[in-house]
């Protein structure tokens, strides 16, 4: 069973989490068979380690972490790989993959450009 983590930056404002919760809910509605969890780098709970432990407990035998960040900077190039390395040591039998940023997807860039133009036309 493959698990999905949606990984976001986190913020002090609790409303900040709403879009990420909404994405989780859409994925869950489309494919209820995948265990899915949100996780945050800072300021919000759970951190990545807790989210992955929950998915493993639910029976996930492999996991993909999707960073819901627009672009790759220090958080995705340094922080996330470092955090994942420590987590992999705690779950040696569960392969954990790191996906690229939202902004690395040409379809999503196109969707955002379309959204921009729809708002002014």
């Amino acid at each position: 069973m493959h698990g999905i983590v949606l990984f976001a930056h986190g913020a002090r404002d609790p409303e900040w989490a709403k879009p990420f919760e909404a994405i989780r809910d859409v994925v869950r509605r489309k494919r209820p068979e995948y265990p899915i969890a949100l996780a945050y780098l800072e300021a919000m709970d759970p951190p990545l380690e807790g989210a992955i432990a929950s998915l493993v407990q639910e029976g996930a035998s492999s996991i993909t972490v999707f960073p819901l960040f627009m672009a790759q900077g220090g958080h995705l190039k340094q922080d996330l790989p470092r955090i994942l390395e420590a987590i992999r040591a705690s779950h040696p039998h569960v392969p954990i993959a790191q996906e690229s940023a939202l902004g690395d997807s040409p379809e999503l860039l196109e969707a955002i450009a379309t959204w921009v133009l729809a708002r002014i036309e």
Copy 2:
């Protein structure tokens, strides 16, 4: 003539800007008639004030600022309105509107959920 600002957080890593540059290029390709500029809250140039001054100089008579942030937190609720208030005082004849975050768009949330599932299936 309506101007478009794509407003992003900014980061120390210069590669971080690539997705935002790509979105600007897609919008420009689709609608070359709109003056468009990137702007950053911190760590990258130009800041919002410079981007808006350029668009006004290019002849924009109204401007929409699109925050390319996933969610609304302190940056969009406090920092951006405060910055815009000061900029509006410098351009009293140019209406400047602030759009909502990417994550407030149900279509974009759906597109992100679809992207997540496409990557694991």
